[in-house]
């Protein structure tokens, strides 16, 4: 035994005698993770979160979350002598006097945008592959929670510097709070410590942004990861992969190196963006005052869809019995997003209700093999995209020589027309792809080589696909729709018959598929 081994042994012994660590370390160091690039999307979000914690902590050493009025005495001349809040002045100080300050501010903000984008692409991967099915429903709900909290955290974060653009965003948030029936004006005055903008809001959201929400994130992310760890990661179907195994690489050394290395990649790319691309140039926006506004004011991209929904809303307000309800604010700002996100959170249960499938699933679906689910996902994305585009309608108008009026009308109509259209097109696309798979299995791959038959006919030579590929294209399940009869054997009507009829209808639509290749099919073509 070398000296190094002896010392290592002593240390390990010391720790193990006090914690029993050897047992779980051994179990976890050899844990196996399947390897696919799409499994790294969640990691981008996780690492961005760590980058946010690190860069954010740096910023807190100089940021002053106070709305107390100060006169600017820093080095940025175009703001010299102007009145502004201490929050804005300290952000200018970070940007111009603290070395590395602007870099860290930019890294922090780019990391936030990447964090949200990564969550969205990760969500899309999990959704389209059906990874949210049992036993992972809780993790899905936690994920939707992380998405929602991320939107709030980002909004609060870029509002801290109290600049003209983010202050406008806060004004709009206050209008949403104020619009709530019965309690709106009270909640608004409590949140802001009085009339808008007041002097209490920024210090309060600072506490939420650096303490409460990060704490919530840490807790939720920990549970999210522990569930993945304990339940083991899902894997794509393929040769040798079953519902009962995990095929991949062990944590030590491969996964540690790859995943650990990827953390440095994400950090490096974020730092690169922070170095070369300007973000949130608050010195150009100026300090916030309610009497000013800039053309082309938008929230950060992950709230752009909310802005777009509010912009396209019809001017609906009801006045009755001395009270006002602003539907033009409540519907696009709270009700529609609430319905969407609730539906998103509950989707695993909705799908299992439709299919009646209560089994565990550890093999992922190829999106084409779940046409209804895939089509629904594309439909939702289309909805979000139309809303997002409308959020930037003024900038799109000036860039592409359109009018804001045209874009607004386009959005109002297409938000209803395009999503169902996207559903139909996507479902058909999936079924076409299933058909193409079937052809591939039955007839093999087209090689492009033409051969002339003795009697003069030209045929293209087809090469049979490999057994691995054939397995991949046929391993999926094709479950029949639920059979729920309205009347049972004795002629007694099943209770809740209407609900069952809806369920049966949905189940039938959900099960539409191109039948995969069977043994009979293969026997048939053998005779060609």
């Amino acid at each position: 035994m070398t000296a190094r081994e002896r010392i290592a042994g002593n240390v390990a012994n010391y720790v193990d005698e006090r914690t029993g660590a050897a047992k779980w370390m051994k179990k976890n160091l050899t844990k196996v993770f399947p390897d696919h690039w799409s499994f790294l999307l969640g990691e981008i979000a996780l690492y961005s979160f760590i980058i946010l914690l690190l860069s954010g902590t740096f910023l807190t050493f100089w940021f002053d979350p106070s709305q107390r009025e100060v006169i600017y005495e820093g080095s940025y001349e175009p703001l010299e002598g102007l009145k502004m809040s201490a929050a804005y002045a300290s952000t200018l100080h970070i940007s111009f006097e603290v070395r590395g300050g602007l870099l860290m501010r930019q890294i922090h903000h780019w990391a936030a945008l990447i964090f949200m984008a990564a969550i969205v692409v990760h969500l899309m991967r999990v959704y389209f592959t059906g990874a949210f099915r049992k036993p992972r429903e809780f993790n899905w709900i936690i994920g939707v929670g992380l998405l929602t909290l991320g939107i709030v955290e980002g909004f609060l974060g870029y509002s801290l510097p109290d600049d003209l653009l983010s202050g406008t965003g806060i004004r709009i948030a206050e209008a949403i709070i104020q619009a709530l029936p019965v309690v709106g004006s009270y909640l608004a005055f409590f949140a802001f410590g009085g009339a808008f903008p007041g002097e209490a809001f920024i210090p309060r959201i600072y506490t939420v942004h650096v303490l409460l929400l990060p704490g919530a994130f840490l807790a939720l992310i920990t549970v999210h990861l522990m569930l993945v760890w304990y339940q083991k990661h899902t894997q794509y179907p393929g040769p040798g992969r079953t519902e009962k195994n995990v095929v991949g690489y062990p944590l030590l050394p491969v996964y540690m190196a790859k995943a650990g290395g990827f953390f440095f990649i994400v950090f490096g790319v974020t730092a690169f963006l922070g170095a070369v691309a300007s973000i949130n140039p608050i010195w150009l926006y100026g300090p916030y005052t309610p009497g000013q506004i800039s053309a082309g004011s938008q929230p950060d991209w992950y709230m752009g869809w909310l802005d777009g929904l509010v912009r396209m809303s019809p001017p609906l307000e009801t006045h009755a019995f001395g009270h006002t309800i602003s539907w033009n604010i409540l519907i696009p700002g709270l009700i529609v997003p609430g319905i969407l996100f609730t539906g998103m959170a509950l989707y695993p249960f909705i799908e299992s209700w439709i299919t009646g499938d209560k089994r565990e699933h550890h093999l992922l679906d190829r999106p084409r093999n779940a046409p209804n689910r895939t089509a629904l996902g594309v439909m939702s994305l289309t909805f979000m995209l139309v809303a997002l585009i409308n959020g930037g309608n003024d900038i799109i108008a000036t860039t592409f020589h359109l009018t804001i009026n045209q874009i607004m009308w386009f959005s109002r109509i297409s938000i209803f027309v395009l999503p169902p259209l996207a559903f139909v097109i996507t479902k058909r696309l999936c079924l076409s792809l299933q058909r193409a798979d079937r052809e591939l299995v039955l007839h093999g791959r087209e090689t492009g080589r033409l051969v002339m038959m003795p009697h003069g006919e030209f045929v293209e030579v087809h090469e049979p696909i490999s057994p691995e590929k054939a397995w991949l294209l046929t391993q999926h399940e094709q479950n029949p729709p639920l059979a729920l009869e309205e009347f049972d054997a004795s002629g007694v009507r099943r209770p809740k018959a209407l609900k069952n009829r809806l369920r049966a209808r949905l189940s039938k639509a959900h099960a539409v598929a191109v039948p995969k290749v069977s043994a009979d099919d293969l026997k048939e073509i053998e005779h060609h």
């Binding site: 206050e174 009270y186 009085g194 339940q231 690489y249 170095a275 604010i329």
Partner: protein, 330 residues
């Protein structure tokens, strides 16, 4: 499960294909060198980071394509940092891909469901424990426990009361009173009608009492936009017309939709556009909404001139300014 016979069988894990670095020691050495170079690039990045921090002054700018005239200190600090991090990652990943074992490992999943005996024991322990607590029998304890916990849990809400004042009639009042002069924003200069040409706009605020301070909250209610048209261009009823003066009309600048500043005046069309959500208001018809999500026109401030010829408010606003709220009756 499909009713059809499983026609195609799982061929099992494909045979392992060795990498060049597995079979050829020279390739392995090359890979090792590549990893080393990547790590060294990272070290160079760190050197650039430290050097930039210490040696590049903060006011030096260099010209680069795409970036333009950019701050050198910030750029090289950031590039150094980016390189120092990125290449550690590249090195580690390349090392794992080329040199670490890449034979796939297969492990079995375990069933989550606990064995039946464990479940039974859990149920028994839970039931026995609950029975021992006696809540089922001792309903007096149960009810008073519920009362105590409930009250203790909810009561801290009362500690939040001082988060803010009650709104009262704050949302319905502004600083504008009968005779308040309109002054320029910024500058605080009073305005005469002759100061404005036809087609002109002015950002205004109410004149402050001597010694008084104006807060942002005041601006958020009091900001008023003055616009001068020709009197025949108005399309107003007699009352609203009487709120104008020689073609000058005044509106609250705070959007009736969600509170952004509405000051985008299109001189030719006489429309006001709010840049936040594109609500469009027709100035000739008392800021009636003609496009966009705003549901109410901008409140109009009745103006006239005082004895010295300066523009003043005739009266306070006849309705609350800014976004709607529950207690707003119209």
């Amino acid at each position: 499960m499909s009713k059809e016979i499983e026609a195609i069988k799982d061929p099992g894990l494909p045979a392992h294909v060795h990498r060049r670095t597995d079979t050829d020691p020279k390739a392995a050495q090359r890979a090792e060198r590549q990893v080393a170079i990547l790590f060294l690039l990272s070290a160079l990045g760190t050197v650039l980071l430290i050097g930039s921090y210490i040696f590049i002054p903060q006011d030096v700018f260099i010209f680069l394509p795409i970036l333009g005239n950019t701050n050198a200190h910030q750029l090289f600090l950031g590039l150094g940092m980016a390189a120092s991090l990125f290449f550690i990652g590249m090195g580690a990943i390349h090392w794992a891909k080329t040199l670490m074992p890449d034979e796939e490992v297969v492990i079995q999943r375990h069933e989550f469901r606990s064995p039946d005996e464990d479940r039974a024991e859990f149920v028994k322990a839970a039931k026995d424990g609950a029975a021992a607590a006696g809540l089922g029998r001792r309903s007096l304890i149960k009810r008073t426990l519920g009362l105590a916990l409930g009250l203790a849990g909810l009561s801290p809400i009362i500690l939040l009361r001082d988060l803010g004042p009650l709104p009262g009639d704050e949302l319905s009042k502004t600083s504008w009173k009968k005779g308040t002069r309109l002054v320029t924003d910024p500058g605080d200069r009073p305005i005469r009608p002759e100061d404005l040409e036809v087609g002109a706009v002015a950002q205004t605020l109410p004149q402050l009492a001597p010694g008084a301070k104006r807060t942002l909250a005041d601006i958020g209610k009091d900001a008023v936009l003055l616009i001068r048209l020709r009197p025949e261009e108005f399309n107003l009823d007699a009352e609203r017309l009487s709120w104008t003066h020689e073609g000058i009309i005044a509106f609250s600048k705070i959007c009736s939709h969600m509170g952004c500043a509405v000051a985008l005046y299109e001189q030719q069309t006489k429309h006001l556009l709010c840049p936040c959500h594109q609500s469009t208001f027709d100035v000739t018809r008392a800021a009636k909404v003609i496009f966009g999500p705003a549901a109410r026109p901008l409140p109009q401030l009745a103006i006239t001139v005082d004895s010295e010829g300066y523009l003043v408010a005739q009266n306070p606003f006849n309705e609350p300014v800014g976004p709607s709220f529950w207690e707003r009756s119209s």
